[in-house]
Symmetry: C2
Subunit: 492 residues, 2 copies
């Protein structure tokens, strides 16, 4: 939460309702992203408390990200007292308009008597299924007025089994695309059995909030990010069976590139709709007698040479030292394609990728996941450009003494834009020949960000790793220390 | 700007259109706030370039602040290519819905042929008068397609003189409330002459973007922030004459407090409407033969004792060393009432206060003002809580080598909320007796933010001042050094 004047009665009530735990964030985008991480780790919505329209505005990008993955969040937004709205005070705005940008489920409490009931309905709406960003706007006078109205808690709706027929999965060229809540360990194990029995390929959609990853379990690859990866990946698919997912599309449009990534003529079969229970559907179909095809875990040795740190040596160190049952919040952006295959060799863990594509998601998601899952090691793999967006998350990690290790991939570029500049053909000259003015909009060095100082400034101990040896030993140590820690991984 | 893939053609064009200067910010809220500061310093709109709906979302709070002060800004937002919108890609959102939250003037370019014309119309709309947040949404395919369509530049509309009668300003109990563009030096000098000739009080509205301040010129006080200040301030006013302003209202509503700050029965007379030329109206009425009543500047001595730094000693040092024609971006929040009277004793300067009340405005406004006004010294007076919101502005100050001195008021509280908690009666116990859970939502210490490290992490040299002597000497030195500098003023 990051409350203001209109929310003071809510804040004062925190000491009277022991079931509530308030976690202060120093920017609203941290709040919304942390609520996302909490729900990804638990399946249950967290609540945010924000201040009026502009405070909600600061949280919108991470609400957008959560909405795209159907992550449930209860968003409470304070409003001026109703009688004050007519005077157009400085902070007056159309909060419903802010709220609707990221949610279809927005209500304003109508009175003090209505407030409890409206809150219960908002919580129920957030559950979905599928999960919703459910907004409740609370005028200050409804908070400060008395009510004796009882509140009836609404039970959350649970996802149901799909009612349609099970598609024929034995047809050649069949692939099952897992999305939503169907990329968790149980769903993947069942999908592995189905694949072994039918020959269907199993793949994971983009934009999924939490994916069972690492070695020693059934491994399903994710549809690649760029069209030149996704198109060949899907080339042989004749029947794409959707489980809580949609037909894969390109993240961005490019001249002369299709928007849909499936081949011409591919049949799209929706087996399990969004909001239905993909895991239960898979388990109902899977034969428990069929062994789950496991990718065995192989020993990985962390590099300890004094050469400059590379993405390969960094990936090896992660694979070697990441503990079992860790949570990995991934906002590596351009570094992801190189590092993710190494993570697939690590101990089994939950992988939490970016979802809606708005940067600034990774640190808050790590924060929320760590609050949700005490005792589990959380690792945030963060591009430097993205990390700057919601870097205030570090302070809350320090305050709450969370076991989070942040690795900042410091390449000092919006590297993904180098790639995109080339792909869109915008420079007409190839990636290297950017003009100086354009280059300045992609270069985030000059001056270089000093992540050790930034982290220490927020109360999180930090070190810098420029060699493979330094990174391996720092990351290994971090996995064995309590509390937050940041490693600036210099990748130049 | 903070562009993404959809904006790559715009970015590439920066090297072909030398009249454009791209300034990279590492978060969109810095872009919108910097555009605000640029326009406050020049009266001319700057442009922002942001990436899709969520990127615009990150800029909304400072667009809101600018809108409330009628600061003109041209906001360009990239959109997916039109053919790609049907597939609901991860970053797809209703950009118009985001845009409408802070502006009534939103258009989407209809084609490559339309793009130049739409841009020209957006610039003209931004000028107003009064100034607008004018949004232009640019689908990527309109950027990458060819056009030979000529663009006709639309001349900005200029504000006109008011057409209504001049109110009788000699009636006892008359006060003139200056807002909008009518708090600049020329307007204030004319208002001073009018006051001397008629006996009318001159006062400045809240939410004005730029106010002529400091000694050696006509001084008009601003309507106080809190009702207990504003109500007695306005108590004797029988006829309030509005010049580019509105009837004063309370920032927030409180139980048993009126929303309007004017006394019962006070006549509200709109002389100069928003969008009309208040300065010209005042000058047309003022008799140039009447001398401007000047508040003489008195020598101020900066304290140099070794006692703990206080707001009084800090204010004295500002008054002693602030150079003439400086720009002061003020987001002191709870420290403002103590420090502003000292600034009124400083050399004449432009004071840029907060406008729409959403925190995170001060550092970006200082950044934009410094870009707009090379050669002038810019001082940002920043509360620590607010500074954390858009702290990424420091990096752009370093990159652009701007002559900005940032003073962070480090009291390690959202101090304003201590006051508001007491005022709203939310704790029912007086300000001191907050429960521990509520207190944790207002306390931003534990861990303490280290502003020296945060600043150095962004490439801005920094020092800490814990005593009056330290602050005086650091601030004096800063006024004589080129480039950005941060002083953490410890106020504990």
């Amino acid at each position: 939460m990051n409350p203001g004047t209109s929310e003071m009665h809510f804040v004062a009530a925190l000491d009277r309702v022991p079931g509530m735990r308030g976690v202060l964030c120093l920017f609203e985008g941290v709040c919304s992203g942390a609520a996302d991480g909490y729900a990804r780790a638990t399946g249950r919505p967290a609540a945010t408390l924000l201040h009026l329209g502009p405070g909600l505005g600061n949280g919108l990008a991470n609400f957008h990200n959560a909405r795209k993955a159907r992550t449930p969040i209860v968003s409470i937004v304070g409003e001026h007292a109703t009688a004050h709205l007519k005077v157009d005070a400085p902070l007056t705005s159309d909060i419903q308009a802010f709220a609707r940008t990221v949610s279809n489920c927005v209500r304003t409490a109508a009175s003090a008597d209505d407030l409890g009931q409206a809150a219960a309905a908002t919580v129920a709406d957030a559950w979905g299924p599928p999960g919703q960003i459910a907004m409740l706007i609370v005028p200050a006078d409804h908070s400060w007025s008395q009510t004796a109205q009882p509140v009836v808690i609404r039970e959350p709706r649970r996802p149901a089994l799909p009612t349609g027929p099970v598609p024929d999965l034995r047809r050649p060229g069949t692939a099952i695309l897992l999305g939503g809540t169907a990329a968790h360990p149980r769903a993947l194990a069942a999908a592995g059995r189905i694949s072994a029995a039918t020959g269907a390929r199993i793949m994971i959609a983009r934009g999924v909030g939490c994916i069972a990853w690492g070695a020693g379990r059934f491994h399903a690859p994710q549809v690649p990010y760029f069209p030149e990866g996704a198109l060949p990946f899907l080339a042989g698919v004749k029947h794409l069976v959707l489980v809580e997912s949609e037909q894969p599309v390109s993240f961005f449009a490019y001249p002369d590139t299709p928007s849909y990534m499936t081949p011409e003529g591919c049949e799209i079969v929706t087996w399990v709709k969004r909001g239905e229970d993909g895991t239960a559907a898979l388990e109902a179909l899977a034969d428990p007698g069929v062994p789950v095809p496991i990718t065995p875990r192989q020993a990985v040795e962390a590099p300890c040479d004094d050469g400059p740190l590379t993405l390969d040596s960094l990936g090896l160190a992660l694979a070697a030292y990441l503990p079992e049952n860790a949570v990995v919040s991934d906002e590596m952006v351009s570094s992801g394609p190189k590092v993710l295959p190494y993570l697939a060799q690590a101990a089994p863990h939950d992988w939490m990728p970016v979802t809606g594509g708005s940067i600034g998601q990774g640190l808050p998601v790590a924060l929320g996941a760590a609050i949700a899952a005490p005792g589990r090691r959380v690792v945030a793999l963060e591009a430097d450009g993205s990390a700057m967006y919601t870097f205030q998350a570090l302070w809350t990690m320090a305050r709450e003494k969370l076991d989070i290790t942040v690795v900042v991939f410091a390449n000092r570029r919006y590297r993904i834009l180098d790639i995109e500049m080339q792909r869109t053909g915008a420079n007409g000259l190839g990636a290297i020949a950017l003009g100086p003015a354009a280059n300045d909009m992609i270069d985030i060095g000059r001056p270089d960000l000093d992540w050790v100082k930034l982290s220490e400034g927020c109360g999180v101990p930090a070190t810098r790793a420029a060699t493979s040896r330094e990174f391996s030993s720092q990351f290994r140590d971090a996995m064995n220390e309590p509390g937050p820690r940041l490693i600036e991984a210099l990748l130049l």
